[in-house]
C-alpha cells in the first residue's frame, strides 16, 4: 500500500528516471550498432580477423560490469569523466559489441552461397550484393543481436547508478541506502518491466523487419 502511494506520489520522477535509463541504453546501443555492424560485415572478408575480433569481444563480455566500471574510472578520471554517464555508456557500448558483431558476422556468412552466386550471376557488384541481398537477409539476425544487447544492458545501466549514471538504478540505490523498501521494490520492478517490455517490443520489431518470404524460416 505504501509502495503504491509512493508510486502515485512520485510517478513523474519515476517516469523521468525510466526515460533517462532508456535514453542512455539507446544511445549506447545505437553507437554500438554503428560500430558493430560494419565490423561484423568487414570481418566476413577474413577468417583470421573474424576469429581475432570475436575472441576479443567475448573476453570483454566476461568482465563483470562493476569491475569494468571500476577499471574505467581511473582512466576516464584523466579527462575528468571518472564517474557519471560516460563510463556507463562506454561499458554498454563495449558489452554490446559481441552480440551485434557476432550476429552480423554469422548472418552474412550464412547467406546461401547459391543466392550469392545468383546475385553475381545477374551482374551485381559486391556493394550491390551487400545492399540488396546480404544485408536484407541478415537484418532479422542482427536485430536479434541488438535485442540481446539491449536487454543485457538495461541491467548493466541499473548497476551504473552506483557510479552516478542516473536511471532507474538510482531508485534501487536509494532504497538500499535509505532502507526504504518502497523505492527498492519500485526500482527493481520498474527496471525489470523495462527489460521485459524492451525484449518484447524488439522481438516484434525483429519480426516486422523479417522479409515476408523468410518469415516462416525465422
Amino acid at each position: 500500500m505504501e509502495t503504491l502511494s509512493f508510486l502515485t506520489g512520485n510517478f513523474n520522477q519515476i517516469l523521468s528516471l525510466a526515460w533517462v535509463h532508456t535514453l542512455l541504453v539507446s544511445v549506447a546501443v545505437g553507437l554500438a550498432i554503428l560500430t558493430g555492424v560494419p565490423i561484423g560485415i568487414a570481418i566476413t572478408q577474413s577468417q583470421r580477423a573474424a576469429d581475432a575480433v570475436l575472441y576479443i569481444a567475448s573476453v570483454i563480455i566476461t568482465i563483470p560490469s562493476i569491475a569494468l566500471f571500476g577499471l574505467m574510472i581511473p582512466v576516464l578520471s584523466m579527462i575528468g569523466q571518472g564517474i557519471g554517464y560516460m563510463p556507463a555508456i562506454i561499458a554498454v557500448l563495449l558489452y554490446s559489441q559481441l552480440p551485434i558483431i557476432r550476429n552480423t558476422y554469422t548472418a552474412i556468412n550464412n547467406v546461401d552461397p547459391a543466392l550469392r552466386e545468383a546475385a553475381r550471376g545477374v551482374g551485381m557488384t559486391a556493394m550491390q550484393r551487400l545492399k540488396m541481398v546480404e544485408i536484407p537477409l541478415a537484418i532479422p539476425v542482427i536485430m536479434a543481436g541488438v535485442r540481446t544487447a539491449v536487454v543485457m544492458n538495461i541491467g548493466v545501466m541499473a548497476i551504473a547508478a552506483y557510479i552516478g549514471a542516473g536511471g532507474l538504478g538510482t531508485l534501487i540505490q536509494r532504497g538500499i541506502s535509505q532502507s526504504d523498501p518502497r523505492q527498492l521494490i519500485i526500482g527493481a520492478v520498474s527496471v525489470s518491466l523495462l527489460a521485459i517490455v524492451a525484449d518484447f517490443s524488439l522481438l516484434w520489431l525483429q519480426k516486422r523487419l523479417t522479409p515476408k518470404g523468410l518469415a516462416a524460416a525465422v
Binding site: 577468417q47 583470421r48 576469429d51 581475432a52 575472441y55 576479443i56 573476453v59 566476461t62 568482465i63 563483470p64 560490469s65 562493476i66 569491475a67 569494468l68 566500471f69 571500476g70 577499471l71 574510472i73 581511473p74 578520471s77 564517474i83 536487454v151 538495461i154 541491467g155 548493466v156 541499473a158 548497476i159 552506483y162 557510479i163 538504478g169 534501487i172 540505490q173 532504497g175 538500499i176 523498501p181 527498492l184 521494490i185 526500482g187 527493481a188 520492478v189 527496471v191 525489470s192 527489460a195 521485459i196 525484449d199
Partner: protein, 246 residues
Amino acid sequence: MDKTALNRYFRNIFLFLIFCFGVWAERTGYIEEMAYYQEDVIYLAGEHLYLTLVSGGLAVLTGVPLGIYLSRPKMAQRAEASMQLLNIGGTIPTLALLALAMSVLGIGNNAAIFGLWVATLLPIVRNTFTGLRSVPAHMKEAARGMGMTPGQMLRQVELPNSLFVIMAGIRTALAINIGTAPLAFLIGGTSLGELIFTGIAVDDQAMMLAGAITTALLAVVIDFALGLLTMAFVSRGVNPLRQRTA
C-alpha cells in the same frame, strides 16, 4: 586456420597488455596502494567464492534436474511455455533480482545467495533443456530399440551427449554469478563488492581496483577450472574441441 597458433598469438597480446597495465600501475603507485589491501582481498575473495559456490552449486543441483524434467517426453506440451516463462525471468536485471531478494529475505548472505541462485538458474536450465532436446531422435530410438530403460537412456546416452552444452551453460551461469556477487555487498552479503563500492564511494581508486581486478581474476580462474572439468568429463567422441575425423 590453426586454432592453437591463434590462441598463442592472443595470449601474447594479452600478456603484453597486462604488462603495460602493470607498468602503468607501478608508475602511478597503484601497486603499492593495492598491496595495502592484501589481507582484505584475500578474506573477501574467499567470501566471494563462498557465495558463488553455494549459490552456483545450488543452481546446478536444481537447474540440471529441472532441465532434465522439462525435457522428458511427457512434459513436451508444457515445456515450451515453461521455458518462455524462464526466459522472461532471465531478462530481469541482476541488481533488481538482488533488490527483490532483499525486500523478501532481508539483509545478509541468505538474500544474496537466493538472488544469485535465481540469476544463475536460467542458463543452466536452458542449456540442459536444449542440450537434451537436441540429442537426435534416431540415437534415442537406437537406445530404445536395444532395450534401454528410460533411466539407462538418460544416463548412458542423453546426458553424455548433451554434457558439453550443459557444461557451457554452467560456465555462463558461473561467469554471471561471479560478476554479480560484488553487488551482493549492497544487500548485506560479503564479497569483493565491498572494496569496489567503498572504493567508488570514498574515491579510493586503489581500493576499487583491488576489488575489481580480483573479481575479474576469479572469473577467469573459475572459467578455466570449469574448462578443465569439461575436458575431463565430456567424452572425446562428442567434445567439439577434441574432434578428429576419419
